[in-house]
């Protein structure tokens, strides 16, 4: 007959081993990760008082500028500007050749992180009248 005390001790030992393995994994820093949007200028969902001269997106990871893009379109449709250039590491910038007229706009972005993970997103902002 198996001693229940032994069984409970074995269970506790197993639980400790499992938790230790988990914390061992958690201690390993991420080699790299999906690039998620951390900050946008204009801000996500914001209303800005003056026409912005650029769209600046900061990501959680460095991105491959060659394979990443930003597109700005009017809320009712119609592309206004597209492209991307590098800012500081993890930052993607789209310079706007012409000031944006008052109204609503949509920004769509697609990025490839330096370890080739693809992410995308979109948000709106408004230029105040």
């Amino acid at each position: 007959m198996i001693d229940p005390t032994h069984t409970r001790a074995a269970g506790r030992t197993l639980a400790i081993a499992v938790m230790a393995a988990a914390f061992g994994l958690a201690a390993v820093p991420a080699a790299s990760a999906h690039a998620h949007l951390e900050k946008a200028e204009p801000a996500v969902g914001a209303t800005v008082s003056g026409a912005p001269s650029e769209i600046r997106l900061r990501f959680s990871e460095p991105v491959e500028v060659r394979f990443s893009s930003i597109e700005v379109s009017r809320a009712e449709g119609g592309s206004v500007a597209a492209g991307a250039s590098a800012g500081e590491p993890g930052v993607l910038v789209l310079k706007l050749a012409r000031p944006l007229a008052p109204g609503g706009y949509k920004v769509r972005w697609k990025v490839i992180s330096v370890d080739s993970h693809k992410t995308e997103g979109s948000f709106g902002f408004e230029v105040a009248r």
Binding site: F23, G24, V44, G45
Partner: protein, 303 residues
């Protein structure tokens, strides 16, 4: 060396050894702008490289038995759309017996990933291998279960409903077919059981990145996903003298994720007396291996 110290040493070495590298990296559950988190009591629709270690669950059953489960699940992509997972754990009952659960394996295939509508549809085949766990707590019969998984984000709602866009719904339904209709030892019927469940999520990361910047909120808050899961079991046939009612729990909780690591905790609220006598709890530490080891075990075997 004491037994506990040996366990800690072995555990840490196991965790760190997964950092050794083996050689476009593929995403965990992403459809367009939507990142579906790993859910705790039902399976999410993603095919990905992930590790849940550990999942801890405590619940007082309808018969008054307190059950604590310590489990793990490791999922590996074979191709970007096809994945395999293996799961097991330790089941502790008070009063009652304790022992290892049966090993369960699942083959899952992502049929559809629609970025515009944030929709994923997957199918899978799970096998609980009877007799691989302790006979005191696990079934001797092998059970085969086809499964259907889906996830739908509400990011395609119109601008007038923008604050509802962070919502997402996921679900799973599967029917278990025991390979033995009668338990050879007890003589009881092995019922065919429908396992089904849903989750409703509100993603603050989605809100912050796609709808409205959470200005001034600490990063920790921006990384939270409040969630309610519901998981049920319904005996459908070959029930014999066994219980016929649906049992399950409603599980409100919250998930935190930084993209590479996820921590989730939910209450387990029994839906009826047969499901449990008190509110239980489940907690999970989850690793997205495609982010942690993108050039090693975190990428498909056949990209």
């Amino acid at each position: 060396m004491s037994r506990r110290l040996r366990a800690v040493s072995l555990g840490v070495l196991t965790g760190l050894s997964l950092a050794v590298p083996y050689g476009v990296a593929h995403a965990h559950g992403i459809a367009g702008n939507r990142v579906f988190p790993a859910t705790l009591t039902i399976d999410d629709p993603a095919v990905s490289d992930e590790l849940s270690l550990p999942t801890l669950q405590w619940l007082k059953g309808g018969d008054g038995t307190e059950t604590t489960d310590y489990s793990f699940e490791y999922a590996k992509t074979i191709t970007p759309n096809l994945g395999f997972s293996i799961a097991s754990g330790w089941n502790q009952n008070q009063p009652g017996a304790s022992g290892f659960d049966n090993i369960e394996t699942t083959l899952k295939y992502m049929l559809l990933n629609n970025a515009e509508h944030e929709f994923i549809l997957s199918v899978g085949l799970s096998v609980e291998w009877g007799g691989t766990g302790s006979s005191k707590v696990s079934d001797s019969a092998t059970t085969i279960a086809p499964n259907l998984y889906f996830g739908k984000g509400l990011g395609d709602l119109p601008d007038s409903l923008a604050l509802l866009r962070p919502f997402a719904i996921t679900g799973q339904v599967g029917l278990g077919f025991p390979t033995q209709l009668t338990d050879p030892i007890s003589g009881e019927s092995n019922a065919r059981v429908l396992n089904w469940g849903l989750s409703l999520q509100y993603s603050l990361p989605y809100l912050n990145q796609n709808v409205r910047e959470m200005t001034g909120a600490p990063d920790f808050i921006k990384q939270l996903i409040p969630i309610v899961e519901a998981s049920f079991e319904t005996p459908t046939s070959n029930i014999g003298d066994g219980p016929r009612q649906t049992t399950g729990t409603i599980n409100p909780g919250v998930i935190w994720s930084n993209g590479a690591v996820q921590v989730g905790v939910e209450a387990l609220i029994p839906i009826n007396a047969a499901s449990g006598k008190n509110v239980g709890v489940i907690g999970q530490l989850h690793f997205f291996l495609d982010d942690i080891f993108p050039n090693g075990i975190g990428k498909p075997l056949f990209p």
